[in-house]
């Protein structure tokens, strides 16, 4: 054993979507914790998913199909941090399909996140500012030389980089001027060709080439210069650090309150700011530092509530039902908004991927939970683990053995097999009692009931 199983399981849940028992066997046997972190932040070492295969199975325009493609990738990728970073960026730069109803552009944006997620924050902001889905979402195509539209300029500063209180209204206006002429082109008309990916386009005649005053500097800035200035600000390093902490380490209060509520762990934030500044905002470097830090290792347990995506993908990885391209994974993402009267579990649990409720994104942490979403979470795991024909479930049951063994040993095995899950002592004792009871019931009861109970606990709602 080269690395600690529980710690690796924790790392794989946070940096990815969790590991199966088999994967943990392999990882802990062959690599140290630091080596695993190094692999995670260097995804190029592992093969990509063959996307032509994915496209063939998940074609079509409805947004659920695009979410299905993404779910398939999250479930099967050998590069989990790439997908996790895409989810992170989608959650902090939330663009909803609902405004454009343009599936291909929304999905293209996710692919862009996948491509740039581990580069520098500057590269990320630059790609974001040139992304057609974002440009349309925040009306930068309506931002003209003689008539500025401040929507993108404002959100770039407020929600995407620095946070309120670190710039003036005049900075917003000047930033907006620098992004005039940054628009997109639609290659084919919607009718009769349908939606095709749009492309970034710079229209020089619509760009304001005049001098701008921005955050105390003056010059003939364009959008890229503005981004350069933004990423050199301490406020940006701090804001991004808080986002990373909130997403990977521990739930914080909702973002709009960050201006007034201090971080839960100021030292950790300072550490991340240091990594940001030392590397010019290189995400690969910062994340490596984060995953190797003590505060990350100590956050194991009950510090972060799983998002619906994390819960669903985590379970799908366990059940193995979608380990090959198969029709149907998009059913988890179907929403009534596609003209279907039915909603998939992801929507019922409160996260319509690629369709966040507002430009502020989702309220995360404990706000994921209400009676309806919790009931759905529990109903979901019950259903997913009830079918012993699914390859992953068969494997779990196989590894668990029968109920004949010592209840404590069965519970220990169950927690381990499900990805080295941690539960509180009280939960642990209740599970042992439950295993005893199951044993007494006879033929109707099986180990899969224990699996369902473990995944229904309060504890399992945490990542």
């Amino acid at each position: 054993m080269k690395s600690d199983r529980q710690l690796v399981a924790h790392l794989m849940r946070r940096a990815g979507f969790g590991s199966t028992s088999e994967e943990l066997d392999e990882l802990t046997h062959s690599k140290t914790y630091e080596e695993i972190v190094d692999d995670l932040v260097n995804p190029e070492r592992f093969d990509q998913i063959d996307s032509s295969f994915v496209e063939r199975y998940y074609g079509g325009e409805p947004v659920a199909v695009h979410v299905g493609k993404w779910l398939f990738r999250m479930t099967n990728t050998l590069r989990p941090l790439e997908e996790k970073m895409s989810l992170f960026l989608h959650q902090i730069f939330p663009v909803a399909w609902g405004k454009s109803e343009h599936g291909p552009s929304i999905y293209r944006q996710i692919e862009m996140f996948r491509d740039v997620g581990l580069t520098s924050f500057k590269t990320i902001l630059l790609h974001l500012s040139k992304d057609p889905a974002m440009i349309f979402w925040l009306d930068n195509n309506e931002n003209h030389k003689n008539e500025i539209n401040e929507n993108y300029g404002r959100e770039l500063l407020e929600l995407f980089s620095m946070g309120v209180g670190n710039y003036s209204e005049s900075d917003i206006k000047n930033a907006s001027r620098a992004f005039t002429g940054w628009t997109f082109d639609q290659p084919l008309s919607l009718y009769p060709y349908g939606h095709h990916e749009a492309e970034f386009k710079f229209i020089a005649e619509d760009h304001d080439f005049g001098t701008k005053e921005f955050l105390g500097q003056s010059g003939n800035f364009d959008g890229e210069d503005i981004i350069d200035i933004i990423v050199s600000q301490n406020a940006t390093a701090r804001f991004v650090s808080r986002h990373l902490y909130n997403f990977f380490v521990e739930d914080e209060v909702q973002v709009p309150s960050w201006e007034t509520v201090p971080p839960k762990d100021e030292d950790a934030i300072r550490f991340l700011i240091g990594a940001f500044e030392a590397s010019n905002g290189n995400m690969r470097f910062i994340l490596k530092e984060l995953f190797n830090s003590d505060f990350f290792k100590n956050s194991i347990g009950f510090s972060k509530v799983k998002s619906p995506t994390e819960l669903i993908v985590g379970v799908l990885r366990q059940t193995g039902e979608y380990s090959d391209p198969t029709h149907g994974i998009h059913q988890f993402a179907v929403t009534t908004l596609n003209g279907s009267p039915y909603e998939g579990p992801m929507a019922i649990m409160g996260q319509r991927l690629m369709n966040p409720p507002t430009v502020e994104g989702w309220h995360t942490g404990f706000e994921w939970i209400d009676s309806g979403t919790l009931s759905e979470r529990i109903g979901f795991v019950e259903k997913q683990f009830s079918d012993p024909d699914k390859p992953g479930v068969a494997d779990i049951i196989d590894r668990l053995g029968s109920l004949d063994d010592e209840p404590k040993l069965i519970v220990d095995r169950c927690l381990d097999v499900l990805g080295s899950i941690i539960v509180r002592d009280e939960t642990y004792d209740s599970l042992i009692r439950y295993a005893e009871n199951l044993k007494g019931i006879g033929d109707d009861a099986g180990v899969h009931h224990l699996v369902q109970m473990v995944t229904s606990t309060v504890d399992y709602q945490f990542e």
Binding site: V305, I348, M453
Partner: protein, 376 residues
């Protein structure tokens, strides 16, 4: 009128109902000029007066209207409609047309009705996903996608196994009290689910009715509401939705089917309440996020602005309210939509004040003209 036992049932028509093809201006030439294909001609409507008719597919509405139990709120909407479903729904749900609101208007009403959150069933949503209209932090709302399977450990059939499983769940969720704020909150929510499920447990067995609902989503949902309401579990606000109204294409087969299912469902639901002697105290509010474009696109209609809402109930003073939006092209909003003639918050505040007995100002965020759509 004693408002303390009044119940409100809200039905959301998701996608934007084509109001003009529901309550049809069947004698107005502007209507026929604008609608080339997606049009209800005189043989497809049942007149209620010289200018308006109810779509024949919603003939049950005509019967309720004739009985004096249906109020048609014409031209309902909000200022500066931007035609987005999401923004539109947000606005209807939170009463915040100018900024993004978090608190749902019905959630705020529930907090007034049950300030200490004693009954987890004071607010019940039938359908999948808690609508933002019902969501306010700290207000427990029970959201049921399937009454038969609501709760936990539902797939377990064997009684003894089920008992043991629920016991284990109760242990685990109960012990979360005192284990940190978030665990505690999740624990409490889980116990709320159990409590609600417990109360709802007997509902299926208790319910008897001679009314036979049709087999479709909205009828099933209304039947579930009837089952819960007749069990007298203290619910004051029910919510449900019927999807599919976003008829950009294929409107002609789709829309008639939807309004037939809706009108028959509501008619059955009202009969059911009557059979149980409960019709006096139930008000049904039907709304949609917007109406559709004046002109059709050959196959359907695109997003518009002004639409219509309906109130149903034995204590509703039937008839037409507000004005039908002008169909004259010179009056069209954005040059192509019906312009709204009444703000939706007028209807909300009327329902809150006059039906539920709740002060509405802080919920609808302002003072709006009230209607008088109730008998007493």
């Amino acid at each position: 009128m004693n408002t303390s036992d009044k119940t409100l049932v809200v039905v959301q028509l998701t996608g934007g109902n084509d109001f003009m093809n529901t309550i049809v201006p069947y004698t107005n030439q502007h209507y026929f000029d604008a609608r080339k294909k997606i049009v209800m001609d005189q043989s497809e409507v049942i007149p209620i007066n010289d200018t308006l008719a109810i779509n024949k597919n919603a003939s049950s509405f005509k019967d309720i209207f004739d009985a004096g139990n249906m109020a048609i709120i014409q031209g309902i909407g909000y200022p500066n409609s931007n035609r987005s479903h999401f923004r539109g729904m947000d606005i209807w749900h939170t009463c915040e047309p100018d900024k993004v609101g978090n608190d749902g208007w019905l959630g705020l009403a529930l907090r007034e009705l049950d300030p200490s959150a004693e009954n987890v069933l004071t607010g019940v949503n039938i359908g999948q996903g808690l609508p933002r209209a019902m969501a306010v932090s700290g207000v427990p709302v029970t959201s049921i996608s399937d009454l038969e399977t609501y709760g936990v450990m539902n797939s377990i059939e064997r009684q003894k196994l089920k008992e043991k499983s629920i016991q284990a769940f109760k242990d685990i969720y109960g012990q979360a009290i005192g284990s940190g704020k978030v665990s505690e909150y999740i624990g409490k929510t889980g116990l709320d689910v159990l409590k609600g499920a417990d109360m709802l447990n007997e509902v299926a067995a208790n319910y008897q009715s001679n009314v036979e609902y049709a087999e479709n989503q909205i009828s099933n949902n209304l039947k579930d509401i009837a089952r819960i309401h007749t069990s007298d579990l203290g619910t004051r606000i029910f919510y449900t939705s019927q999807g599919g109204y976003d008829t950009h294409a294929n409107e002609l087969p789709t829309h008639p089917k939807l309004i037939r299912e809706l009108s028959d469902g509501i008619s059955d639901f009202m009969d059911d309440l009557e059979e149980h002697n409960l019709s006096e105290n139930v008000l049904i509010l039907v709304f949609t996020e917007f109406g559709r474009r004046m002109k059709d696109n050959g196959s359907g209609t695109d997003h518009g602005s002004g639409g219509g809402a309906f109130l149903f109930g034995k204590n509703v003073k039937g008839g037409l309210y507000s004005d039908y939006p002008s169909l004259n092209p010179k009056d069209w909003e954005h040059g192509e939509d019906l312009k709204h003639t009444i703000d939706f918050r007028s209807v909300y505040s009327t329902v809150l004040e006059k039906w539920m007995g709740i002060e509405s100002r802080s919920i609808v965020k302002g003072d709006f003209e009230q209607l008088s759509p109730f008998v007493v």
